[in-house]
């Protein structure tokens, strides 16, 4: 089966091509094309995953591009991480395809939506089976385009247009880092193959400085894609896209690609302490930074977006603390519960036609499925014991502590408190209390929307049990498989970390409960509405404004300065050239005086010159 893994990305590509060419004729049937083909991917992915449990890594490649003596290859690889990612991506994609049939029902560009979903799924699946950096980069860019197209799906909205553009350009800034890092690594090892790079790192063939430099450059690419500080601002704006897209791309899969990239290249990063520390610091900072913004946002999708940024920060912190398993584990559980949360949020939006949580409230009774499912997702992300997020977050905290980063550990713990708080704030404001908006026509979503959520709900509960301190670390042992570069399968941590994590999470829930359900603590206890702190958080620390005033202004300024040069200096040069030509012409025409004496004189002087030359050179001009 593994030798056929290359088919997995091709099914959605086929869906993209079919829908691009015949979507107009297929109309609503487009959904079935997309759903069936992603189902095929899912079935293949499950088969591949099971086969990979018992068999070794499969890798194959062929010559893609010849440059003189250099042969660049393409191919695919099924190792543990890839097989797991194939499963996660094709599962979430299949569920989102199914869900969208209800959510996007009636949209004028329904087939186009499914076509774009197919393109994205193709690129994402291609990304996770790439055996070399160049191919990874190729698909890395393609997922970016899929994301760009879907963010801008409502192309007639100015906000969607701006968000799509921003997403593309900001991630591209990161991509350039990856691009440079990849090329520098190539000239060190004469290969883009992961195996060759790891072999060179192992053999000490690359200098320490170069490892650090390339690792950090590649990490910049991950920062862009995974919405890490300071390139995070595109991700919340990306919520302009349809909600199923936010679930698939901007929660479960693409934004986790940065984490995946660091994990896939882990032996390289592990060889540089500086690179690991950079990742850990950026990750921990992003985790708390984004969580604090999430505390005050009022748009349901934006709260979830900031929580995504924050959770991705956790994963980076894990990887940076050498917790390979913890990072990948959290990637998986997060994919399930965050996709669930987004789909549930979509179901809410579908019902009440607003994204503002101030206008919701009291939906628990009206949305019989969505409410409990949202609660499950909220419990999982908050790290409440026995839910999946609890186990993976615990692993990360242990990794940060054992990795010797007590300060980062503390930051992560505070962020965990904030997460529990803002997620339950969201839950209470949406589902409890009085209805604050018009809810006459509210009804539960159709089955094709609720079934995917139910499946994700089940996974959000049970996915954590593949790697627990109580029932064994099956996932970790399998992922690491004795590879010393990836660390241990399971880190034994002190029990107090688990207790501390539980306490902060419950404390967060308690505060949210008191503030937003019981209302016995006023909402402005810590910082009042209109306070400086509140205003700063509401404006997301003014990072966007800062970029506008610096990077954007500088670029524009430089452009206008160059235009000044173009208009005055370069055009001046043109005028000069034209002037010379015209001048010569005028001089020439002035010579045409009509006076025979002048002509005679010119002819005589010419003859005299020729005679002199003849006399000096002996007749032949050498």
């Amino acid at each position: 089966m593994m030798e056929n893994a290359w088919l997995i990305p091709l099914f959605p590509l086929l869906s993209f091509l079919i829908l691009l060419l015949f979507g107009k004729r297929l109309k609503e049937a487009s959904a079935y094309v997309g759903i069936l083909l992603t189902l095929a991917s899912l079935v293949f992915s499950i088969l591949v995953l099971f086969e990979r449990f018992s068999e070794p890594t499969y890798i194959t490649k062929f010559n893609w591009l010849t440059i003189g003596d250099l042969h660049l290859t393409a191919g695919f690889e099924v190792n543990q991480l890839n097989a797991l990612m194939l499963f996660i991506v094709s599962l979430v994609s299949f569920l989102v395809h199914t869900y969208s049939k209800g959510y996007m029902n009636g949209d004028e560009r329904f087939p186009v939506f499914y076509a774009y979903l197919g393109l994205f799924t193709f690129a994402m699946l291609g990304l996770v089976i790439s055996p070399n950096l160049l191919q990874t980069y190729i698909f890395w860019e393609l997922v970016g385009v899929g994301s760009f197209l879907l963010i801008g799906f409502y192309y007639y909205k100015e906000e969607a247009k701006a968000a799509a553009k921003k997403a593309f350009i900001m991630t591209r800034i990161g991509d350039v880092g990856l691009f440079i890092g990849m090329i520098l690594l190539f000239w060190e090892t004469k290969s883009f193959e992961y195996s060759a790079i790891f072999a060179a790192v192992d053999a000490g063939a690359i200098s320490g400085t170069m490892i650090t430099l390339t690792a950090i450059l590649i990490f910049i690419g991950a920062v862009g894609k995974s919405g890490q500080f300071p390139l995070h601002t595109w991700l919340p704006d990306a919520m302009e896209g349809p909600t199923p897209v936010s679930a698939l791309i901007h929660a479960a899969t693409m934004v986790a690609a940065g984490v995946y990239l660091v994990a896939a290249l882990f032996p390289l990063f592990a060889a540089s302490k500086t690179a690991l520390l950079t990742i850990a610091v950026i990750g921990a900072f992003t985790a708390i930074f984004a969580a604090s913004i999430g505390l005050v946002q009022t748009d349901i999708k934006r709260v979830l977006a900031y929580s995504t940024v924050s959770q991705l920060g956790y994963m980076m912190l894990a990887l940076g603390s050498a917790g390979y398993v913890a990072g990948v584990f959290h990637l998986m559980t997060h994919a399930f519960f965050k996709a669930l949360l987004f789909l549930a949020a979509g179901s809410v939006i579908h019902a009440v036609h607003t994204q503002n949580i101030e206008e919701m409230g009291g939906l628990w009774k009206k949305l019989k499925f969505t409410g409990p499912l949202f609660l499950i997702g909220t419990l999982a992300i908050s790290g409440v014991p026995l839910f999946s997020g609890f186990f993976s977050k615990d692993e990360i905290l242990i990794a940060a502590w054992e990795g010797g980063h007590p300060i980062l550990f503390l930051l992560a713990l505070i962020a965990a408190f904030m997460t529990a708080f803002y997620m339950f704030r969201l839950f209470f404001m949406v589902f409890t209390g009085e209805a604050r908006g018009d809810q006459k026509h509210v009804h539960e979503s159709p089955n094709n929307m609720t079934y995917p959520m139910i499946l994700l709900g089940v996974l959000a509960v049970i996915a954590g049990y593949v790697n627990t301190p109580w029932f064994g670390s099956f996932l970790g042992d399998w992922l690491v498989d004795g590879n010393p570069a990836l660390g241990h399968g399971h880190i034994e941590g002190p029990i107090w970390i688990m207790i501390a994590a539980t306490v902060v999470s419950l404390a967060g829930i308690y505060f949210a409960y008191m503030m937003y359900y019981k209302r016995s603590i006023a909402r402005n206890t810590i910082s009042g509405t209109g306070d400086t702190l509140h205003t700063i958080l509401l404006n997301k620390y003014y990072v966007d404004e800062f970029y506008q005033l610096t990077v954007v202004a500088f670029t524009k300024g430089l452009s206008y300065f160059l235009r000044f040069i173009d208009v005055f200096l370069v055009e001046g040069l043109v005028k000069g050239v034209v002037g010379i030509v015209q001048g010569l012409g005028r001089t020439g025409s002035k010579m045409q005086t009509g006076q025979v004496q002048t002509y005679g004189a010119v002819a005589f002087i010419g003859l005299a010159l020729l005679a002199v030359i003849f006399a000096l050179t002996g007749g032949y001009l050498r």
Binding site: G68, L70, F139, E158, V176, L562, V570, E571
Partner: protein, 503 residues
């Protein structure tokens, strides 16, 4: 089979069209268009056949032709015949891909002209076919005199095509084109004459050998001077900053079908000349200038990109974008290794296809809406979804999206330069970001957002208009996904160049 006549037939096949057109009445619009279009087909078929000939493992040298042509009798005391110029055509892998590109774009441009040209079709197509002869000749000529003659043949029809069928300031643009290119030609002619005088031959292969010989009658300084002159002559064409202002006018004022040719093929003559003559004949001197050329490349790349970022007319965006993309050619060449040079050649082909595609779309938009100003066009994705889709896809190709030809070339050019001059290359990567910024700003500005005005009765791409965009897009994706279709003919050329560079 004797294939020596093939190239001559290829180059001069449009002549048949010119002759037929000469005898046709001016008013026979339909017939003129059909003849004009069909006259480009033989060259296309021969070019494709030659490509297949290569891919089936046969030798491109089969096509080479050489007969004696002009001879100067020696003057007193000189062994005779002193100077002889042969009629020599040939086809290396590099030339082959350029010939295919030329033939493809020429046919598609003829199709575009049949759509967009509104007057005096007879004159247009006759000049156009003459231009095609010039272009095909330039890329197959094996000696400098013949090259120069074909080079000049491209200038004259282009001048008239711009001056007569262009937009409002067409005359100004045409003269600007003529003066700059004329000066470039003059410099080129001087170089050719000095080489001819010093070595007695203009055959490119012979020249390369003679100049590589240390006992050649040329001092190092003279060679350097000649190379700098070539850099100026072809720099006008490419164009290299600050010699670019003429081409902005041409891009804006010339009719779209001519810009397809101009941006797609004519600018590429500059790159071809730099590679074949600059790097091919003066490899040693090219090495000394490598850093300078790399800097020029980065300047071109960034200068074009930053200026494209603030243009209001989409045609100007594309014009500056051409400058920017030609910077990538220089970057690749400056690397002087396999990756860089192959990247530069890929960029030549890739940009030819992409700019032909984008300018065709500009033509479509202008015909439907009478404008190419970005702000006037907002929101056309609603009325023209197919055109808007191709525009976006073209922009993606242009900004170097993997899976399309632009990425492969950009990637290889940077791969090459990072090996030799990493710091300059690192500065150049800013261009990768800026390219995305200016293209998305322009294309999203035109297609996305609210429609500023009702484009009532505006038709989307349809019928034969889908052929050029479809063919070009297919080729762009083909090269992006299977770059070996383009790289395999180039390997021998690369080997030759690398040999000249000393390994």
């Amino acid at each position: 089979m004797n294939l020596h006549a093939v190239l001559t037939i290829l180059v001069f096949s449009p002549l048949l069209g010119i002759v037929i057109l000469a005898f046709m009445p001016k008013q026979a619009e339909k017939l003129i268009k059909v003849v004009g279009l069909l006259a480009t087909v033989p060259a296309l078929l021969i070019a494709i056949a030659a490509y297949l000939h290569f891919q089936w493992g046969k030798d491109l040298a089969d096509f080479a032709v050489s007969t004696s042509w002009i001879q100067f009798r020696g003057m007193g005391g000189v062994p005779e015949p002193f100077f002889s110029v042969n009629y020599e055509l040939g086809l290396s892998g590099f030339q082959l891909v350029l010939v295919v590109l030329t033939a493809v774009v020429a046919t598609l441009s003829a199709l575009a002209a049949a759509k967009f040209v509104k007057k005096e079709w007879k004159g247009y197509f006759m000049l156009f076919l003459l231009l095609e002869i010039g272009m095909l000749g330039v890329f197959t000529a094996e000696n400098l005199i013949l090259f120069f003659i074909f080079f000049e043949i491209t200038l004259i029809p282009t001048f008239f095509l711009i001056g007569k069928w262009g937009y409002f300031e067409k005359e100004k643009a045409a003269y600007s084109f003529l003066i700059y290119n004329g000066l470039g030609s003059a410099v080129l002619l001087i170089v050719i004459m000095i080489l001819f005088g010093k070595t007695g031959t203009t055959n490119i292969e012979m020249l390369t050998k003679i100049i590589a010989d240390p006992s050649a009658p040329l001092s190092g300084d003279l060679k350097l001077g000649l190379l700098i002159s070539l850099l100026i002559a072809f720099g006008v064409k490419l164009p290299i900053f600050p010699l670019h202002s003429w081409m902005l006018k041409v891009h804006v004022q010339a009719p779209p079908s001519v810009v397809m040719i101009h941006s797609g093929i004519l600018l590429k003559i500059g790159a071809y000349g730099l590679i074949r003559f600059g790097m091919g004949i003066f490899p040693e001197q090219f090495k000394t200038l490598a850093t300078l050329i790399a800097i020029l490349g980065v300047v071109n790349l960034l200068y074009g990109a930053f200026l494209a970022f603030i243009q209001t007319d989409f045609k100007m965006v594309l014009a500056y974008s051409s400058i920017s993309h030609m910077g990538i050619v220089l970057i690749g060449l400056a690397a002087m290794n396999e990756a860089g040079v192959q990247g530069a050649i890929f960029q030549v082909i890739s940009h030819g296809l992409i700019s032909a595609l984008l300018f065709f779309l500009v033509g479509v938009l202008y015909e439907r809406t009478d404008t190419s100003l970005i702000e006037n066009l907002g929101g056309i994705a609603k009325g023209m979804p197919i055109a808007a889709g191709f525009l976006l896809a073209g922009a993606m190709a242009s900004l170097g999206l993997p899976g399309m030809s632009g990425f492969v070339s950009e990637f290889m050019a940077f791969l090459g330069l990072f090996k030799e001059l990493p710091w300059i290359a690192a500065v150049g990567t800013i261009g990768i970001i800026m390219t995305a910024a200016y293209l998305l700003r322009a294309v999203l500005g035109m297609t996305y957002g609210k429609a500023h005005r009702e484009f009532t009765g505006v038709l989307d791409l349809r019928g034969v208009e889908l052929i050029p965009v479809g063919v070009l897009m297919l080729l762009i994706v083909l090269i992006g996904v299977f770059p070996s279709v383009l790289s395999s003919p180039l390997q021998t050329t690369l080997e030759t160049i690398m040999l000249g560079l000393g390994g």
